[in-house]
């Protein structure tokens, strides 16, 4: 048996992804250990979302392998055919462990906030409904929107919706959390409330991979920073190191442009 503490939470090896003829990831490898908070930076179109979405198979890589907690996802990657996961049951099981938070929240608009939180725990994880509700209420209180539990997503501000989406992700008891630009769709004055929730999660020691444009947040909160450029990792290291002494010129330009 491998030591669970040493098994990486997420391991990507040599991920390649193409859309038609156009290859957008040219062999990316990335390991997230238990408790890592990895910020993924890069300019628009560099492949950040694609990389993140390869972890939970919302995009299936054309080559390379993905393992979650040491379990490799079985892929059919034959040249000339679209790649696919061989076993959807395996994918679904692993997806339930790697919760995702989206830029545009993607709360289910026909369900109340509370119903959004218990939906997957009850129907995917088959948890007891009463327990799921009790837990969901606690999570909503934690992200500061307990009083919105019976409201529909359309009646919440963007910041509240994103906090609800984070609570929905937490309700799955995920072992890894994937964030794709969670604050990019928010008005500037609402960004802080969402980042605060994420800071708390990082402080708890949760394993998180965060695509973000919030440099300050990446610098303070992440344990490791990855800079993606044109589908390859250009820079990688502890934020204190890479922000102070970037080895790559592109990353230097990138951080000086943003600040």
């Amino acid at each position: 048996m491998p030591d669970p503490a040493k098994t990486p939470a997420v391991q990507l090896s040599n991920i390649r992804k193409s859309y038609g003829e156009h290859e957008v990831l040219h062999g990316v490898s990335l390991t997230a250990n238990e408790g890592d908070v990895i910020s993924i930076l890069g300019s628009s179109g560099s492949g950040k979302s694609t990389l993140l979405r390869c972890i939970n198979m919302l995009e299936v890589p054309n080559a390379g392998s993905v393992s979650i907690h040491g379990e490799a996802i079985t892929l059919d990657q034959k040249p000339g055919q679209p790649p696919r996961a061989r076993d959807m049951r395996q994918v679904n099981r692993l997806r339930a462990k790697a919760a995702m938070v989206f830029q545009s929240f993607n709360l289910w608009s026909h369900l109340t906030i509370l119903e959004n939180l218990i939906e997957a725990p009850v129907y995917v994880l088959k948890r007891d409904r009463k327990e799921a509700i009790a837990e969901a209420e606690a999570l909503l209180a934690r992200v500061g929107i307990a009083e919105k539990r019976h409201a529909y997503p359309a009646h919440l501000s963007g910041g509240q919706q994103q906090r609800a989406a984070i609570a929905r992700a937490l309700a799955m008891h995920p072992s890894v959390m994937l964030f794709d630009e969670p604050t990019s769709a928010l008005d500037p004055e609402l960004v802080g409330e969402v980042l605060k929730v994420m800071r708390d999660l990082a402080a708890e020691g949760r394993t998180m991979l965060i695509v973000t444009h919030e440099m300050g947040f990446a610098r303070d909160v992440s344990t490791r920073t990855v800079f993606l450029h044109n589908g390859v990792i250009e820079e990688e290291g502890a934020p204190a190191e890479v922000f102070e002494n970037p080895r790559s010129d592109r990353f230097r330009q990138f951080i000086s442009r943003d600040h």
């Binding site: 939970n56 997806r95 989206f102 993607n106 289910w108 026909h110 359309a154 009646h155």
Partner: protein, 243 residues
């Protein structure tokens, strides 16, 4: 011309005898048509050409030809096939009632399939993706996330289709059925007073469709709590425990 009011009333009460058959034909064809329509719509959105193509062909044929022609083909045409005359379906297909119901059902299935497909495609891709990301897929995803939202989206279009179906049952009179229009035609041939009879027939269809419209409005309201304005106070209902 002068309207003969006693005759008008008499026509009205006579025509009411046709209402049960009109409603039966509508209900039977709408229910079976809806089942077929769901199948066709799922075939259309399956992304598999060998499912999509037959569904497309079916929809093209049944939307592209007059309902009257479809009724005639089923009523007069099917009896030309000896195989059918000897099959277990014949006791049904020899009756005008089942032929009319079948034609109406096959016809509404084609239109409804496209309404359902429109509803399915209207569900935001991000919400489907969010469901997949939790490990939902297949029937569960359909039942819990896609269908409930598609249903709300397609209600206005579908109520339109049912109104059309109520009126389409009038064509069943062409194959001897004595629903509202069939009785009207008979009354006219006996009395030569088409105006009174048709006014009554029109009023009856109008009344039925009024109920259809109200029922769908109520259903839409009941199914779309998220589209109503938020409660005036965003504060939660007072805790029951404190009462």
């Amino acid at each position: 011309m002068v309207i003969d009011f006693p005759f008008l009333w008499e026509s009205f009460t006579t025509l009411l005898n046709g209402v049960p058959l009109t409603l039966q034909l509508t209900a039977l064809s709408v229910v079976t048509g809806a089942v077929l329509a769901v199948l066709l719509a799922l075939m259309r959105v399956s992304n598999r050409w060998w499912l999509d193509l037959p569904a497309q062909a079916y929809i093209f044929v049944f939307r592209g030809t007059p309902l009257l022609v479809q009724i005639y083909i089923i009523y007069y045409g099917l009896s030309q096939f000896p195989e059918l005359r000897h099959s277990i379906l014949w006791p049904f297909l020899r009756q005008a009632y089942w032929c009319a119901a079948l034609a109406l059902a096959l016809n509404t299935a084609a239109y409804s399939a496209e309404i359902i497909r429109g509803g399915l495609l209207s569900v935001p891709a991000g919400q489907i993706e969010a469901a997949r990301a939790t490990g939902m897929s297949g029937f569960l995803l359909m039942r819990r996330i896609i269908f409930p939202q598609a249903l709300r989206q397609m209600l206005p279009g579908y109520s339109n289709e049912i109104i059309l179906m109520v009126k389409s049952t009038a064509l069943a009179s062409t194959v001897t059925l004595m629903e509202v229009t069939g009785i009207a035609a008979k009354l006219i041939s006996q009395s030569y007073r088409p105006i009174e009879v048709f006014i009554c027939a029109g009023a009856i269809y109008l009344a039925i469709n009024f109920i259809v419209v109200r029922a769908f409005a109520a259903l839409e309201y009941a199914l779309s709590p998220e589209r109503r304005p938020a409660p005036a106070s965003t504060a939660d209902q007072p805790e029951k425990a404190r009462a």
